[in-house]
Amino acid sequence: MSPIHDQSYRRYQGTRLPLGRSWTVIAGAGIRGMFARKLFLILLVLAWIPFIVRAVQIYAVTMYPQAGQILPIDASLFRDFIEQQSIFVFFISIYVGSGLIANDRRANALQIYLSKPLLRTEYIAGKLAVLLFFLASVTLLPALMLVFVEVGFAAGFGLHAANPQIVPAIILSSAIRITVASFAMLALSSLSKSTRYVAVLYTGVIFFTEAMYGVLTFITGTTAVAWVSLGANLDQVSDALFRQPAGYDTPLVVSAFVLVGLVILSVSVLERRVRGVEIVS
């Protein structure tokens, strides 16, 4: 071997991730990037305040059972908790999600991403994972922690033995909420290069449908029109999962259909918008 070592370029000799795992790189980078922002960390901390309030409620009812008449500990507590977290789902979706694809479009980074051995599906999966991670951290995670708190204070599984649907309902209800929110936000993010525009579009979708439901209910005198409201559909499905009385007259099937339809619409938007090249007609 020559005593003078070769200083020229050498190809990478290490191991490579198998194909189809590149989405973890995108997800990891996105998650680390968000954790570096102080304002976002404050928002995350604020999102856990309702958990503390509910934990105190559980403690109070455990210590003073008569308080349970005003603040009952049953399946509705967990269902209400998840519904109350939807405001944080909204804000975190906007903070995290509005720039996920819009920023890449603005920086012309989509072409760079998709010129690598990276499938479009992996790119979308990576971006989706970022949003799902943070939304789960303010819905599913605190709700499950609340279950542990309840079991700990009650020193037993009595509530869950009587209501076995609670834990699966928490998981499913959270999963549905964050999946619908994530897909919708990601689809909107792929439509524009401006995070501001995306954020306002998302706000419009959420609150306008609420306003429309309010007016239609007033006009028709029935809550069967709740299917126009995204929030109402999610609540309807949650009620069914937790085996609670339905809050609206809309059939469950219709609500589920609307949610699935929204996800399918979002996927089709993503399929058209996330491309390495622009197709000019």
């Binding site: 304002l39 405001i87 804000f91 906007i94 903070y95 524009s192 401006s194 501001r196 525009y197 954020a199 306002v200 579009l201 706000t203 419009g204 609150f207 306008f208 306003a211 429309m212 309010g214 007016v215 239609l216 007033f218 006009i219 028709t220 005198g221 029935t222």
Partner: protein, 274 residues
């Protein structure tokens, strides 16, 4: 060629000339058209259903067109479209120029920097007023004739139009200030409108004085005739300011926010993204 030194208003009007076309023919206007178009579409549907014989039922009893119109004005326009459009446009008056890197051209001209903000604010007002107000008129024409009279409701319409225009003006100034001062004005604007204002309006005490919606609603009962939707809403909201108080405070908020926003733009340095 000895041009006179352009003053604040002159500079603002020249910036207005440049900005109006950019604002009107941008994709934002598509969004704005959607936001105000959907209530119009809803009105068409409601009118269509009524023409086909379906009754309007409000809270268990029959309702008339003017009642529904009043509710739509409050729910769709004053509590949704106006603040959302104001957040959307107001927070981005300067931010858009910074993001597009065209701010340099405006700041390297011999006009006060505040004139740039003022001109763009006026362009926002013109843009939104001339899209939102016609939509309201359309809704009025479609809905009010349902067991109501266009003639009887005309004065109310004019006042509603004034109310919406005033809302756009004041919210726009508030969010122009947010855009000039804050790093994340859009998120904070949305939290203000859909978090803070919704929250404080329902609380007793003085927190509600720190909202724009409180003073706007003070203009509503004085403009709507009794027995209408507004009186229904009034029954929910207990404390309503007087007309004079509302106008004074709204004027103060408008003037103060605009002045502060212009000062902020004058003193702030904008580092463009490389």
């Amino acid at each position: 060629m000895k041009p006179k030194t352009p003053g604040l208003w002159y500079g603002a009007m020249r910036v207005f000339d440049v900005s109006l076309a950019e604002m009107l023919w941008s994709r934002r206007t598509v969004f704005m058209a959607l936001v105000v178009g959907l209530p119009v579409l809803l009105s068409v549907v409601v009118r269509g259903l009524v023409e086909l014989g379906a009754p309007i039922r409000a809270m268990g009893g029959a309702a008339s067109g003017p009642v529904v119109f009043g509710l739509m004005i409050w729910v769709f326009f004053i509590r949704f479209s106006v603040p959302v459009l104001a957040v959307f446009y107001g927070t981005s008056l300067i931010a858009d120029e910074v993001e597009d890197k065209t701010i340099t051209y405006l700041f390297s001209r011999p006009i006060p920097r505040g004139a740039v903000l003022l001109g763009k604010y006026v362009a926002y007002l013109v843009c939104t007023v001339f899209v939102v107000l016609p939509a309201i008129v359309l809704v009025w024409l479609l809905v009010v004739p349902i067991e109501g009279s266009l003639g009887a409701g005309f004065t109310g319409l004019l006042t509603d139009l004034g109310l919406v225009a005033l809302g756009l003006t004041v919210y726009g100034a508030l969010f122009a200030l947010a855009g000039a001062v804050l790093k994340r004005p859009l998120l904070i604007g949305l939290i203000f409108v859909f978090g803070w204002e919704n929250f404080v309006l329902l609380l007793p005490g003085s927190l509600k004085y720190f909202s724009v919606a409180y003073y706007l609603q003070g203009l509503v009962p004085h403009t709507m005739p009794g027995g209408t939707a507004m009186s229904l809403i009034q029954s929910i909201v207990r404390d309503v300011p007087s007309l004079a108080e509302s106008l004074v405070y709204l004027g103060l908020i408008e003037a103060l926010c605009l002045w502060l926003a212009m000062r902020a733009v004058t003193n702030r340095e904008y580092v463009l993204e490389q």
